[in-house]
C-alpha cells in the first residue's frame, strides 16, 4: 500500500499516535478513531495509505527504528577516524540511551509493546536487534583473540545490552538510561575484549566528579 497520499507531517503524527495507543492500550484494544483524532488525520486519508491498523503500526515501528539506527550510526561516525572501536561503540550506545530516555513511551513500545503483537512483530523486532551485529563486528579486529572468538559473539553482546535495557525500561527507569552507559559499555564489549579491558573502557565513560 503506498502511503504517499499522506503528507509527511501527518504521517509522522499518525505513527506516533498509533504507537502511543499501542503502548497505552495494548494489542487488540487499539481505537483507531482515537488515534486519528489525536493525529488530526481523516479516516479517508488513513484508508488511502494503509490496508489496516496493523500495517500502520508496522510502518510506525519501522520509522522509529530507522530513526534510532540513523542516530546511532551518525554518533559512531562522528567520533572520527582516529577513534578506536570501543570509543565508537560507546558513542553509539550513549546516543541510543539518550534517545530512549528522551522518549520513554517509545522505549516501551520498542522493547515490549511492539513484540507483544505476535510472531510477525517478534520477527521484525529480532531483525532490528540483529541489525546491530555488523556494527559490532569491528570488535573482532579490536580483540586480542579475534580469530578464536565464537561465531555468535555479536549476538551475545547485542542480547546482553537488550536484556539490561529491557529490565530498566520495564521497571519504569527509562529516563535514567544514560546513567547506565558504563555498565552497558562493559556488557557490550566484554565478549570481544574480555573483562579486564571491558572494565577499563567502562571506567573511561564513567562520569568523574
Amino acid at each position: 500500500m503506498n502511503n504517499t497520499e499522506m503528507e509527511a507531517g501527518a504521517r509522522g503524527r499518525l505513527h506516533r499516535a498509533i504507537l502511543v495507543e499501542l503502548e497505552e492500550k495494548g494489542p487488540g484494544r487499539i481505537e483507531l478513531s482515537r488515534v486519528l483524532w489525536s493525529a488530526g488525520v481523516s479516516e479517508h486519508d488513513f484508508e488511502a495509505s494503509y490496508e489496516n491498523v496493523e500495517e500502520c503500526i508496522f510502518a510506525a515501528y519501522d520509522e522509529l527504528t530507522a530513526r534510532l539506527d540513523t542516530a546511532v550510526r551518525e554518533a559512531c561516525r562522528a567520533t572520527g577516524k582516529r577513534s578506536g572501536w570501543p570509543e565508537r561503540v560507546s558513542a553509539g550506545l550513549d546516543t541510543l540511551l539518550k534517545e530512549l530516555a528522551a522518549r520513554p513511551q517509545m522505549a516501551r513500545v520498542l522493547l515490549r509493546s511492539f513484540p507483544s503483537l505476535g510472531p510477525p512483530a517478534q520477527a521484525r523486532s529480532q531483525a532490528f536487534l540483529e541489525s546491530f551485529g555488523p556494527m559490532l563486528a569491528g570488535g573482532r579486529d579490536a580483540s586480542e583473540i579475534g580469530s578464536d572468538l565464537p561465531a555468535e559473539v555479536e549476538m551475545l553482546a547485542t542480547g546482553a545490552a537488550e536484556a539490561i535495557l529491557f529490565e530498566e525500561v520495564e521497571s519504569g527507569r527509562a529516563e535514567s538510561l544514560p546513567a547506565m552507559l558504563p555498565s552497558l559499555v562493559f556488557s557490550l564489549l566484554v565478549p570481544f575484549l574480555g573483562p579486564a579491558d571491558a572494565a577499563a573502557e567502562m571506567e573511561k565513560v564513567r562520569p568523574h566528579d
Binding site: 515490549r112 551475545l156 536484556a163 555498565s183 562493559f186 556488557s187 574480555g194 573483562p195
Partner: protein, 192 residues
C-alpha cells in the same frame, strides 16, 4: 495454549483457538480454567516446573560449579528444542505479551539463573558491574529467541558453546572462557 500462542501470539488467540488445537470441547476447558489468562499462567508454571526438573536432573554432587552450569545449560536447551512451542511461550509471550503475573514468573526464572551464574563472581578477574550477570543471560536469550522465531528449535543444543562463552566471559579471562566453550562443544559432539 503453547501451540496457539506460537501460531498467532498470545494477544490474538481466543479460547476457541486453544480448544481447537487440543481437540477438546469448550466445556472441558472451562472445567479447568476460568479464562485464557489462567490457562496461559498454568502453561508458564508447567514450563518452569519442567525446566527446574531438567536442571535438577542434570546436577550431581561430584560436579564442579562450572560443570553444573554446563550441564544445566545443556538440559535447558535440549528441553526447549524438544518443546519449541513451550519455549516460545516462556521466552517470548510471557516476556512481552502476557499479563503481569506471567512476566513475573519469567523474571523469577531469570533471577534463578542469575543466582547460579553469580557464583562465578567469586572467580572474576575484574570488577564486573552488577548488571553484567543480567547481560550474560541476555546474550543467551537473544540467541534462543532467534532460533525459535526462525523455527529452528532443533539447533538450540548446538548453541551451547557460544552460550557458555557468553555467560562466563564477563567474569573469567577470555582464554578460560574459550576453554569452557570448548568443553561445551565436546559435550555437544559426544552426545554424552
Amino acid at each position: 495454549m503453547a501451540s496457539a500462542c506460537a501460531r498467532k501470539g498470545y494477544a490474538a488467540i481466543e479460547i476457541e483457538d486453544v480448544v481447537a488445537l487440543a481437540v477438546l470441547p469448550r466445556h472441558a476447558f472451562e472445567r479447568h480454567f476460568t479464562s485464557k489468562e489462567e490457562c496461559a499462567l498454568a502453561a508458564v508454571d508447567q514450563i518452569l516446573a519442567d525446566t527446574t526438573w531438567a536442571v535438577a536432573n542434570a546436577n550431581s554432587p561430584e560436579l564442579t560449579d562450572w560443570q553444573r552450569l554446563l550441564y544445566a545449560a545443556r538440559a535447558v536447551l535440549e528441553l526447549m528444542a524438544a518443546q519449541p512451542s513451550y519455549a516460545r511461550l516462556a521466552c517470548m509471550e510471557a516476556r512481552h505479551a502476557m499479563p503481569a503475573d506471567a512476566y513475573e514468573r519469567y523474571a523469577a526464572g531469570i533471577r534463578v539463573i542469575m543466582a547460579m551464574l553469580d557464583r562465578a563472581r567469586a572467580y572474576a578477574v575484574a570488577a564486573a558491574p552488577s548488571s553484567a550477570t543480567r547481560g550474560a543471560v541476555g546474550g543467551a536469550e537473544l540467541l534462543i529467541r532467534r532460533e525459535l522465531i526462525a523455527g529452528r528449535a532443533e539447533r538450540l543444543p548446538k548453541l551451547l558453546p557460544d552460550i557458555i562463552y557468553g555467560t562466563v566471559v564477563p567474569f573469567l579471562d577470555q582464554h578460560e572462557a574459550l576453554c569452557y566453550a570448548e568443553l561445551a562443544r565436546e559435550l555437544v559432539n559426544s552426545g554424552g
